[in-house]
């Protein structure tokens, strides 16, 4: 069966004052129906650009040079802005942002904001005007109850500041699900939360994936969260997918030198805190050949000669490294 979402050879560049930055250079991923895919990478690796490209909200000056983004059998990159708005955003792809406080307007009631989304994007069920609005309120209250927001009936009449951080994130999960999307993209939705609240939200997300029949694309930099939540994993380094496959095999036996080095930095696993020497290359002047070669402990002469081929590790993960070609 075809995956719900698949990205192939996506290349995105952004024009800056100092030249053209190659932010994404051949990123690929594949998300099967009903699964949770974790996209992991350090800051500046292109995680945010990737999800912006999928939703068609790339910043000014950015352009897709190459690649395809297939979602439910359609290439999203050929859609016009209007088509994306009417047929994709919110209605078929929901979004959970990183900071719930930034995503909510402080001067409008929560209900006004969430119903606005539904007014534009909820599927047409034949009802109009007041009748349609009433149905939307009904669905929202039901969703808020499911999200365990206290007093869901009155919650819509309250303002964002009247909710705690965890509750605000629940409101936005409800908003993401309001128009019955097939795919939900979450951008580090638990980084701003406390450990126990984060745990509650992760549990909730896992239940919702099964209950609402959605697939979840979960962007994070926290391997601990990936281990707890995700089914599949896609590791990104300097705008390229370096390793992708099922979570547990990769965590048990990471294949790409970058994945290995990154996991070796995790306090749960580190024998000594050595870190990874060097720093992430600038997208303005990426190194020739393998992007990780200048920092790699296993580097060979061929690594800087050209782009490493896609290979397969012993555990079945796709790995971009000459060792597995």
């Amino acid at each position: 069966m075809m995956p719900l979402l698949s990205v192939h050879g996506l290349k995105v560049s952004i024009d800056t004052d100092e030249g053209t930055a190659q932010v994404l250079d051949d990123v690929g991923l594949s998300l099967e129906r009903g699964r949770i895919l974790g996209v992991v990478g350090e800051s500046g690796c292109g995680k945010s650009t990737l999800i912006r490209a999928i939703m068609g909200i790339l910043p000014k000056g950015a352009r897709v040079e190459r690649g395809e983004i297939w979602f439910e059998g359609e290439n999203l990159l050929v859609f016009s802005e209007r088509e994306l708005n009417e047929r994709v955003r919110s209605s078929r792809i929901g979004f959970i942002p990183q900071d719930p406080l930034l995503a909510l307007n402080p001067v409008f009631k929560v209900g006004t904001q969430l119903l606005e989304v539904m007014r534009w994007h909820a599927p047409d069920d034949g009802s109009r005007g007041g009748e349609r609005r009433k149905r939307h309120v009904g669905r929202l209250v039901g969703l808020l109850r499911r999200m365990q927001v206290p007093d869901p009936e009155t919650a819509l009449e309250r303002y964002p500041h009247q909710f705690s951080g965890g509750q605000r994130q629940r409101l936005l999960i409800a908003a993401a699900l309001a128009c019955s999307p097939r795919l939900v993209i979450a951008d580090e939705p638990t980084t701003a939360l406390d450990v126990t609240t984060q745990h509650q939200i992760l549990l909730l997300l896992r239940e919702l994936v099964a209950e609402f029949g959605i697939s979840l694309l979960f962007v994070t930099h926290d391997f601990g969260v990936v281990a707890e939540l995700c089914d599949d994993l896609c590791v990104i380094y300097a705008g390229q997918t370096v390793e992708a496959g099922a979570v547990l095999p990769i965590l048990d036996a990471p294949a790409h030198p970058y994945t290995r080095a990154l996991l070796a930095c995790h306090p749960d696993r580190a024998t000594s805190f050595t870190g990874i020497p060097g720093s992430v290359p600038s997208p303005l002047a990426p190194p020739p050949g393998c992007r990780f070669a200048p920092r790699c402990g296993d580097v060979r002469a061929v690594c800087s000669a050209g782009q490493p081929p896609q290979g397969r590790s012993g555990t079945g993960a796709e790995v971009r490294c000459v060792q597995y070609a």
Binding site: D194, V195, L202, R206, L263, P267, D268, R269, G275
Partner: protein
């Protein structure tokens, strides 16, 4: 008998805010820290762990003297240094320094790093300019930066490098105790590792004692000698890191440990989430603060605040039920 602790806190409480209303509304103060007792041994790393609003940062600030305690005693090398105004307290506690959570925000963007670092030495009356320059350069290389980078400005540094600058700044003042407030939050994992490595290295080289404030349990487990868990202003459990992570006893500690995302493959669904949100410190209840979220709390817990009591050498827990269960299991073992 253990040697004299470098820093001792006895029943320290801190009230924040509050105003008596004459023209404005009367606001009751917040009890941010409640009767905290702690001992910091020379050379150790003690971690203070808790969720936002539990009072760990306030306690750190109180130890520094930036925040005046409302009750209790603070002893440095056995000498009382508490009850002072912030200015006098900072003077008496020069040996304690603080690394800010947001290293970048603590630096003046218009000053070169070298000038910022020199300023600290100037304030503390360190001799001539040449000597100050020399010490700044030496310290920059001690924290792994190029001495020539003293001419650069904060925006030219990455997050990890800014932590190094922040460390250089306080180490110039030759502290004995360093309060590290979330020193690795917001850093990428590979950078976090190098910063932790540096912290361990500096502790050796400058014989430092760390009070490590954090909510990242993976880091805490790896780094600390001892751990104190805070909940709503009180320490609910403290003990050696190995013991505490192997046998967490307070229900809150257990909850926290179960909730922390860890690499060792365990699925979130296998755990029951704790109920409710972390409480607000403005709430005052007569009993245990955790009782409303506690899986084993009972009526007695609502009536009386549990005291921190030893259940094993160096391992203390503040829970009515934990000690009951402990005694019950000891009795059961005796009978068996």
């Amino acid at each position: 008998m253990s040697p004299q602790p470098i820093l001792t806190l006895r029943d320290v409480s801190v009230q924040l805010g509050g105003s008596k209303g004459f023209l404005r509304k009367t606001v009751p103060p917040v009890q941010a820290v409640r009767q905290v007792s702690l001992e910091l041994q020379e050379g150790e790393i003690l971690s203070l762990v808790g969720e936002s609003g539990c009072g760990k940062t306030t306690l750190g600030r109180t130890i520094l003297g930036l925040q005046r305690e409302s009750g209790g005693e603070i002893l440095l090398d056995g000498r009382p240094v508490g009850g002072l105004s912030p200015e006098a307290a900072r003077h008496a506690r020069r040996g304690i320094q603080y690394v800010h959570q947001d290293a970048g925000a603590a630096l003046d963007p218009w000053w070169s790093i070298g000038r910022t670092l020199e300023e600290g030495l100037k304030i503390h009356g360190v001799g001539d300019r040449a000597e100050r320059r020399e010490r700044v350069a030496a310290m920059l290389s001690a924290v792994g930066l190029e001495p020539a980078w003293g001419r650069r400005y904060p925006h030219e540094f990455s997050g990890g490098q800014l932590r190094r600058v922040a460390l250089a700044r306080i180490l110039l003042l030759q502290p004995r105790i360093v309060v590290l407030d979330e020193p690795t939050s917001g850093l990428d994992m590979s950078v976090q590792a190098t910063v932790l490595n540096l912290l361990l290295d500096l502790r050796e080289r400058f014989s430092l004692t760390y009070l490590f404030i954090s909510h990242d349990l993976s880091v805490v487990e790896r780094l600390s000698d001892r751990v104190a868990i805070m909940y709503l202003g009180r320490i609910v459990e403290s003990g050696p890191a190995k013991v505490l992570f192997a046998a967490p006893t307070h229900p809150y500690t257990r909850t926290l440990l179960a909730a922390a995302p860890r690499l060792a493959g365990r699925r979130a669904t296998e755990h029951v989430a704790v109920r409710g949100d972390p409480p607000s410190p403005t709430l005052v209840s007569p009993g245990c603060a955790f009782v409303d979220r506690c899986p084993i709390g009972d009526a007695a817990c609502k009536a009386e605040v549990p005291r921190l009591a030893p259940i094993a050498p160096q391992h203390e827990v503040a829970c009515h039920r934990a000690s009951v269960e402990q005694t019950a299991s000891i009795r059961a073992r005796r009978r068996a």
